[in-house]
């Protein structure tokens, strides 16, 4: 579903991604973990066609970037730490706006479905500025799945959420966003990530330093695996 080969991204003289190879199969949930500044968000922005790669090839859902960016965007849903919502519009108006941007045929019916999925039906006509951070993030997931994308990208979705809101977001991520879809998520919350993802890739110094599944490191050991990979990287 996602194929990345020898990806390089430079900002001026600074090289963020250094010949990165990465692939995700259909239906996989891959967590991309790594220290701050490793290039996780930059990488997700390239997959989302928001940033152009400097070198290398990237294809998502069979379409190559940046050539077929519009086709890629039709297949993508993106949730970041910012909700990408307009606070002076209601939840329903926000979804209607994005529905029109994606040229969805029966927007009103889809809005009812999506608000039901994320548990915001009763607040559909409230302004987003009156929502708590957790509710905004749930609505952001609703916005991202509105056009029923086959690939989801989550960039630090738990940022700024308390424990209750994070637990609620877990449920929505699992039942609404991830079900039947290919997912790539970046997060610093390793406990939650371990619970959600099926594969874990460590991004360090602009490259995938290691890749593992639950079987490889055993239940509850993601933190140890992550630390070991980073320490080995420092020695080299």
């Amino acid at each position: 579903m996602i194929r990345v080969k020898k990806l390089v991204k430079r900002f001026g003289l600074k090289t963020v991604l250094r010949g990165m190879d990465f692939s995700v199969e259909n239906g996989e949930f891959v967590a991309l973990i790594g220290p701050n500044g490793a290039g996780k968000s930059t990488f997700l922005r390239i997959l989302a066609s928001l940033t152009r790669p400097s070198m290398g090839s990237v294809s998502v859902a069979g379409f190559s970037l940046p050539k077929e960016a519009a086709d890629v965007r039709r297949k993508l849903g993106v949730v970041s730490h910012q909700p990408l919502l307009y606070v002076d519009l209601t939840a329903a108006e926000n979804l209607k706006f994005y529905g029109r941007m994606y040229n969805l045929p029966d927007v009103d019916t889809r809005i009812i479905e999506v608000l039901e999925m994320v548990g915001l039906t009763k607040r559909r006509d409230d302004l987003v500025r009156t929502y708590s951070r957790g509710m905004q993030q749930r609505l952001a997931i609703g916005r991202a799945v509105l056009h029923d994308p086959s690939v989801m990208l989550f960039d630090e979705p738990y940022t700024g959420l308390d424990q209750d809101a994070s637990a609620m977001l877990d449920d929505v991520l699992r039942t609404v966003a991830a079900r039947g879809r290919t997912v790539v998520m970046t997060s610093h919350d390793l406990a939650r990530t371990e619970d959600l993802a099926t594969r874990f890739d460590v991004l360090s110094r602009g490259k995938i330093a290691a890749s593992a599944t639950h079987k490889d490191f055993g239940s509850g050991n993601l933190l140890n695996f992550y630390k070991n990979v980073l320490e080995e990287g420092k020695k080299q």
Binding site: R52, A70, R73, L84, M101, N103
Partner: protein, 227 residues
């Protein structure tokens, strides 16, 4: 055909979204209006004008007011998109990115027109001058299009910088000079009741600049917003 429909629908959606949000918050319009009223009030006290001089300076005062107030609006309109990451939301939509430009330009133009509709009677009242002449209104219409066409593009550029409030006027004012000169000359021509053949070259210049600015913005907007 489907592609064309989705393009037009996206333009309409962006303009609708901006107008709906602004009619609710009134942040942008109230800032533009208060600023414009203050500017014409200050000019009113600063310039003790007889009837003849009034006709010659009105065009300049009006356009200075529109341009400064417009800069506030353009900055705010794009800052709303950038501050909460909504610009990324727009860029993620599967439409040609020029649709975002046209949607934003239409809403910015609508805000300019709303301010102008309120400022013109206020100015007429304070300076005791009739501004409701079809020719003058047409020049204001053309000038506003040129101003927002290039202003929307440059505000998308300046909003990415840390000093965006200062950066927009620095980028915009030198580029907008041809539109501004043509608009002031044509407006002044109507106010001083000059013959139409003396005003026509300035109107032609305005039309040409409008077309050029819109065409350039259409071509380069994608590169301006993408990292």
């Amino acid at each position: 055909m489907k592609k064309k429909n989705s393009y037009l629908r996206a333009i309409g959606a962006i303009a609708w979204k901006d107008l709906a949000a602004e009619l609710r918050s009134r942040e942008l319009l109230s800032a533009m209006l208060v600023f414009s009223l203050l500017v014409i009030l200050i000019f009113n006290f600063a310039l003790e004008l007889d009837a003849k001089t009034r006709n010659s300076v009105t065009a300049g005062v009006l356009w200075v007011t529109f341009v400064f107030a417009g800069t506030l609006g353009l900055n705010r309109s794009m800052a709303i998109e950038k501050d909460r990451g909504c610009l990324d939301g727009l860029l993620l939509a599967p439409v040609d990115r020029s649709a975002i430009y046209f949607g934003k330009a239409i809403s910015n133009l609508a805000f300019m027109f709303i301010v102008e509709i309120i400022i013109l009677p206020a100015y007429s009242f304070l300076y005791n001058i009739n501004l409701f002449q079809p020719g003058l209104l047409f020049v204001i219409f053309l000038g506003s299009i040129g101003y927002t066409a290039v202003g929307t593009l440059l505000s998308a550029m300046s909003v990415q910088t840390r000093t965006r409030d200062v950066m927009l006027p620095i980028l915009l004012f030198p580029v907008i000079v041809p539109v501004l000169i043509a608009a002031v000359k044509a407006s002044g021509g109507y106010l001083q009741k000059l013959p139409f053949d003396q005003i026509l070259p300035w109107i032609n210049l305005l039309i040409v600049y409008d077309i050029i600015f819109i065409a350039i913005s259409f071509m380069v907007f994608d590169y301006v917003v993408e990292e």
